[in-house]
């Protein structure tokens, strides 16, 4: 049976003027990198605060590693690490002093802290600079250090709130790589809030899409792409114009078809089967190299979900 690291049951949090989290139901297996995707103000940060026991739910409940976040918040915080919206580093302290403080605050021994600092900072290329005041560092370096801090006490679950926000593309890509490597090495469950779809695509085994505090969809990124872009079919290859294009256009259930850069892009009725379209293309002499059903990217799937939720309102 799969161990569940994080679960929420009708988790709801109201603020005076807004419902930030609305009946959230989640089950995140241990060892998974879970991406919580949503536009700004969709309740992602509030969810993390609820899961860390920093805020009380208005109704519903949540468990992290079997601890109820309302009843045992300290046990939750002892077993988890967090990188919140801001890096949370003490800029007047050195990198080493920061990690020492948070390591000791997590109950680590001095010897363990020292060894762990070396273990974390060396692969991040920060070990030689551990004696420098953090305030003098670039934002990218601070975020790397903040990630190291969140993993300092070997937590079983780590919450990351927009870890690449505010970084330039190069620094963001670097941090994503470091994060992916550290997460794989440490084997932790990661709950990462982001509205950067590249982060989610690169890092996450599972994603949930949230808007206005409501969960719109949850699943693997490829599942989401298929589910949300199920009416779209792309066929790449040669000889797809002319006769092939006309035949496909006339096929039953094809709503629209166009040729884009040697690719046939079709909008289909939901019940049209992909093999039937492929057969038509081959029968008319088309050569197929690739067939893709569903949204092309997670970003497209995400936008489809948001548009669908707009239609529901």
């Amino acid at each position: 049976m799969t161990e569940i690291a994080i679960s929420t049951h009708s988790l709801t949090r109201d603020f005076p003027s807004v419902r930030a989290v609305d009946s959230l139901d989640l089950e995140i297996p241990a060892g998974v990198v879970f991406g919580f995707l949503g536009p700004n103000g969709s309740g992602k940060t509030t969810t993390v605060r609820l899961l860390l026991g920093l805020l009380e739910p208005t109704s519903g409940r949540a468990e992290v590693l079997g601890h109820d976040v309302s009843l045992e918040p300290q046990a939750v915080r002892a077993a988890t690490g967090a990188l919140m919206e801001h890096s949370g580093l003490y800029e007047r302290l050195t990198a080493q002093e920061n990690l020492e403080f948070f390591g000791r605050a997590a109950g680590m021994s001095r010897v363990d802290v020292k060894a762990r600092i070396q273990e974390l900072l060396d692969p991040l290329d920060l070990l030689e600079r551990r004696g420098e005041q953090v305030g003098t560092w670039s934002r990218g370096m601070k975020q790397k250090l903040a990630v190291a801090r969140s993993l300092m006490h070997r937590p079983r679950v780590v919450f990351l709130d927009e870890p690449t926000a505010g970084l330039d593309p190069v620094a963001a890509a670097g941090l994503r790589d470091d994060l992916a490597r550290l997460v794989a090495e440490e084997g932790v469950t990661v709950f990462v809030n982001t509205h950067h779809l590249a982060d989610a695509e690169r890092l996450c085994h599972q994603v949930g899409v949230v808007r206005d505090g409501r969960l719109l969809a949850v699943g693997r990124p490829d599942e989401l792409r298929t589910a949300t872009g199920g009416r779209r079919l792309e066929i790449a290859g040669h000889g797809l114009g002319g006769d092939v294009l006309s035949a496909v256009r006339d096929a039953t259930g094809v709503l629209e078809v166009r040729l884009e850069n040697s690719r046939l892009v079709l909008d289909l009725d939901q019940d049209v089967r992909t093999p039937d379209i492929v057969r038509i293309v081959i029968d008319r002499g088309g050569e197929i190299e690739e067939v893709r059903r569903g949204a092309e990217t997670l970003e497209e799937a995400f936008m489809n979900l948001l548009e669908a939720s707009d239609d529901d309102i």
């Binding site: 860390l52 026991g53 805020l55 919140m84 801001h86 890096s87 949370g88 403080f101 000791r104 605050a105």
Partner: protein, 250 residues
Amino acid sequence: MISDIWLVVVKEYREVLLRQGGRRANIFNMVLIFAVFGVFMPLQTGEWWVQQPWTPIFWAWLPLFLVSALVADSFAGERERHTLETLLTTRLSDKAILFGKIAAAVIYGYGILLAVMVVSLVTINIAFATPHRLLFYRADVTLAVIVFGFLITFMVTVIGVMISLKATTVRQAGQALSLGILALLFFPGLIFGYLYRVLPGDVQTQLLDFIEHLEPGVVLLTVALVFTALDAIFLAVAMKRFKRSRLIDE
């Protein structure tokens, strides 16, 4: 618990005292305090510095000004520098964080008060003592400074931390605390003076007579008990108000 409190204390010293405004500026401030209160004022006052009762009692207020910057920064500073939320995500208990912030300021303010007392005693003896006669503070005054110095430092620190809990910036906390200290310094005297003036003449005479015949030891003990009770009340209020969920910006 004690080690967690001490961890917060050390972090406060490293972050706020040693680095804020630069290490040199802080060393200069410290030297200035010792030069004025430990050397200059005793030399100006002479032997009276240790013999008359009021100078050391006046010192009991010195920590007010020493701790004000530290306590104003305690939570408002963390909030302003965006480190508060991360601190609250740690395993540290509410009490460890709160007591650590309070202890850092009390140890700093009270420690300097006692150190200045010792330095000024050394100054007085170097300047005015003879080989046959060393100079010491009066025992009752020394005891009063030790007791009231602590009680007043503790009270101002707890009040300051409570203000800092609510303040959004260090400046706002500092301004509110300054007003609070002024009120603490002047309100009791003003209120007593007002009440005294509105009393009938014969009651005024009786009151003065009563005060003149009060046993100093009893008065000091009573005041100390009142301060202790106030300290306990303020600490209880601070503990009640320190809630992680209240500290997170909504």
